[in-house]
């Protein structure tokens, strides 16, 4: 097996696992605002997130950036809370041109924080020959995120169907569009979970 492929598998497995719950929850928070037709926008945003954490990871592994792990572990759930809050308060969802510009930027900046979370572990292990392992690991993470994003897409379609069924069962004329209910409902849940993590990981 090539060195690249080995580290690709390591990165892929690091995302596609139940242990990656904070990472997956952030991906859900990023993706929850999109309709099935907006999959390109969602992919663009997830890729911006990968670019962000790749930059920090590379800087930290090469000692160009010194990171205090307790602070990073606290900041990671805060990025999830911030994304969930932004989902709830922003009335104009994926369709807006402004949102199309801001969302990847937000994902990229928050990706910088998440990359610092990986760096604490990887810095110790990549002692020599950093370039190929780091590239393989990052490409593996991106591939894993695409797989997770596809699974999130399927789950969101099921959530939408569930909301429609609940509305029909209550014989209720929809007061809010299904998308808005989905965004607000899931973002509230995600924000609540991430707030609990932030409290548990607070560095003081």
């Amino acid at each position: 097996m090539s060195e690249f492929y080995a580290f690709f598998q390591l990165g892929f497995g690091h995302i596609v696992t139940a242990g990656a719950l904070d990472h997956i929850l952030f991906l859900v928070a990023l993706a929850v605002i999109y309709r099935a037709n907006d999959w390109r926008d969602a992919l663009y945003v997830i890729s911006a997130f990968t670019v962000g954490h790749s930059v920090t990871l590379a800087l930290a592994v090469t000692d160009a950036l010194v990171i205090r792990e307790p602070i990073v572990e606290f900041l990671i759930p805060l990025t999830i809370v911030a994304t969930a809050a932004e989902n709830i308060v922003s009335p104009n969802r994926a369709g807006g041109a402004g949102m199309r510009r801001i969302r990847p930027l937000l994902a990229g900046v928050f990706g910088l924080v998440h990359g610092a979370g990986f760096a604490g572990y990887l810095k110790s292990l990549f002692v020599e020959r950093i370039a190929v392992p780091l590239l393989g690991f990052n490409v593996g993470i991106e591939a894993g995120q695409v797989v997770v994003l596809a699974a999130i897409g399927v789950a969101l379609v099921a959530v939408d169907a569930g909301i429609r069924r609940a509305q029909l069962g209550l014989r209720q004329r929809p007061a809010l569009p299904v998308l808005r209910l989905r965004v607000v409902g899931l973002s509230l849940m995600i924000g609540l979970v991430a707030t609990m993590w932030a409290v548990e990981r607070r560095p003081w």
Partner: protein, 168 residues
């Protein structure tokens, strides 16, 4: 109509709370369960050199499973480490298992470097490697081994499902 809306809000709220309660709360951000090993073989001297890099906290807990974890990591004695490593990591040649000798332990921050040496008695062609380090602790454990045989490099990857893999 208002009552129905309230009912829908209550149902959504209850589902949200149930989902939140069902989610585990990781105190640590997304740990990476992996070890990194350099294994090199010199055909001229038949010497096998192994350096295993492990995270000290998880590794110490695996070597001394009965000892509760503390904030300050207690590194196990060399004999206990050697016993654990040789039980879960080994090179097997056509002539049988290659005996490994202890050649030291170094700690750099969160990482331990375990050094082992061996000498291959007979032929080495067709040799295989087993690496089950920490797989008894973590279902997502991935052990990476970078091998070198007379300058030729290769990488092996072990998950908890993997048995022995061919070297070189």
């Amino acid at each position: 109509m208002v009552a129905r809306r309230r009912m829908l809000a209550l149902v959504l709220g209850a589902v949200s709370l149930l989902a939140v309660a069902a989610l585990p709360a990781p105190a640590e951000a997304h740990p990476l369960h992996t070890t990194m090993t350099d294994l090199s073989y010199d055909p001229a001297t038949r010497a096998l050199s192994v350096t295993i890099r492990v995270f000290a906290d998880d590794f110490s807990a695996a070597v001394l499973p009965g000892v509760p974890r503390r904030a300050e990591i207690v590194v196990p004695p060399d004999t206990a480490i050697l016993r654990y490593v040789t039980m879960r990591f080994g090179v097997t040649g056509p002539g049988g298992r290659v005996p490994m000798r202890w050649c030291g332990l170094r700690r750099e921050g969160k990482v331990l470097f375990v050094c082992l040496r061996g000498t291959v008695a007979g032929a080495f062609a067709g040799a295989s490697l087993t690496n089950r380090l920490l797989t008894e602790m973590f279902a997502d454990q991935v052990n990476v081994v970078q091998t070198s045989n007379d300058g030729r490099r290769s990488t092996l990857l072990f998950t908890p499902r993997d048995g022995a893999k061919a070297l070189f």
